[in-house]
């Protein structure tokens, strides 16, 4: 499902950033009441390649052929890969984000939920999910279903380049409010880092959505049986970019 315009807090935040408004913050609320705001988020979403974190720049070397940029946000990945000559489809479920992608020059930006992609988009060689966007796969069940579908929509030597983080070892992991949240998730049969969050901007309250953060081990379990495997990781202090490749049919 795409986000209805009246709930599109993320998209309105991106538009305000594009319009050069001062001090635009990304406010993220978790379903236990934890809330945080970041000045850096909106800036990174529109940043040119040279301002990206090093592991994001490195991840771009792994991109080949036709690209699907999932959770495209402000379009930075799509725009960079377009410039490098790739055929790119930018995908987002936020109408405002897709608006921003188009205004900035993305040639093919689609307002669509990742779960609703199909053959009409064509075949891809690389699927990119940077910025913790492995979370866009959603719950493990949804992720497995989507990964199987992605096998059909990709070439034989396709790659998924997806960022996530191990919530048990990241900075601040020991804070009691984070420990309690992970324990609460496990009690409910969820992954410890299976965030349920929403974005807030001005008086717009975004819809709740599942956005799991997984360790490499947890990612392997999600990939198991889907026809994809974790080939290697590019690590940063806080997160890692997973390079996921197709497992040969046996």
């Amino acid at each position: 499902m795409t986000v209805p315009p009246e709930k599109d807090a993320y998209g309105q935040m991106m538009l305000a950033t594009l319009h050069g408004e001062d001090n635009v913050l990304e406010i993220v609320e978790r379903d236990d009441g934890f809330i945080n705001a970041s000045v850096m988020g909106p800036k990174l979403y529109l940043a040119p390649f040279r301002r990206w974190p090093a592991h994001h720049r490195r991840a771009m070397r792994l991109v080949r052929g036709r690209v699907l940029d999932v959770g495209a946000g402000g379009g930075r990945v799509s725009l960079h890969l377009q410039e490098r000559g790739h055929d790119v489809v930018a995908l987002d479920n936020s109408p405002g984000a897709i608006d921003v992608c188009r205004r900035r020059g993305a040639r093919d930006a689609r307002l669509l939920d990742f779960a609703d992609i199909d053959e009409s988009l064509g075949t891809f060689d690389t699927i990119v999910l940077l910025g913790n966007n492995f979370g866009v796969f959603g719950s493990p069940t949804r992720a497995k279903r989507l990964l199987r579908k992605l096998r059909r929509l990709t070439s034989d030597d396709a790659r998924i380049v997806a960022e996530s983080r191990d919530v048990s070892s990241r900075g601040g992991a020991d804070a009691p409010w984070h420990v309690a949240y992970r324990e609460r998730n496990v009690e409910r049969g969820r992954l410890p880092g299976q965030l349920r969050i929403r974005i807030r901007f001005r008086n717009i309250i975004g819809p709740w959505f599942d956005y799991p953060m997984v360790s490499p081990g947890q990612m392997r379990e999600i990939l198991d049986g889907t026809g994809w495997h974790l080939e290697r990781t590019i690590d940063s202090d806080d997160t890692y970019v997973a390079v996921i490749e197709k497992t040969s049919a046996t």
Copy 2:
């Protein structure tokens, strides 16, 4: 009523700031869902006199005698006035804020709701409510009751030095989300700037409270019949400090 420790978002924010934590934000949520976060708030609450806004420094010249500092927060006003030789009582309904005031050296800091002050605190010559803290008076009805009580607890030539802002003319007043909020308040028989807000910090959600912002005209109506009158104002770009004095008994 004072804030229960488990809901003391404001106090925990002040303590985190005192402990030198990075990027502590003051997140304020309004009852229409509007939300904002400020980096400046927590810093100002602990700022030394030389870093205060000019109109706050000017307001200090109007202070005389024994002082009640209402909504003392991080104690900056109390500490400054103590240094200048005043006998000061710092008052706050946040246990964490009072803790911070004491740790920073406030000699007499009381955890007490402004509405619950009584003769046991002694008599004051100046009541200070800086930083939009005229809002601590609460709704106009509550404010009138408190102002009458304050007549009894103050000397004959006492002053109230209280900051507020005219929400219809401040920066950003024309934004549709602020216009809609003021209209909604008026429809409900409230002052247009009668904010209902709560503070959030990490996973702590503060209690809702009324925090009116009033124009000088609206302030005069609140003062009418209470034995206090608006003598003059010290204006800044965004707010004003009201100098309120006792009206001679007729």
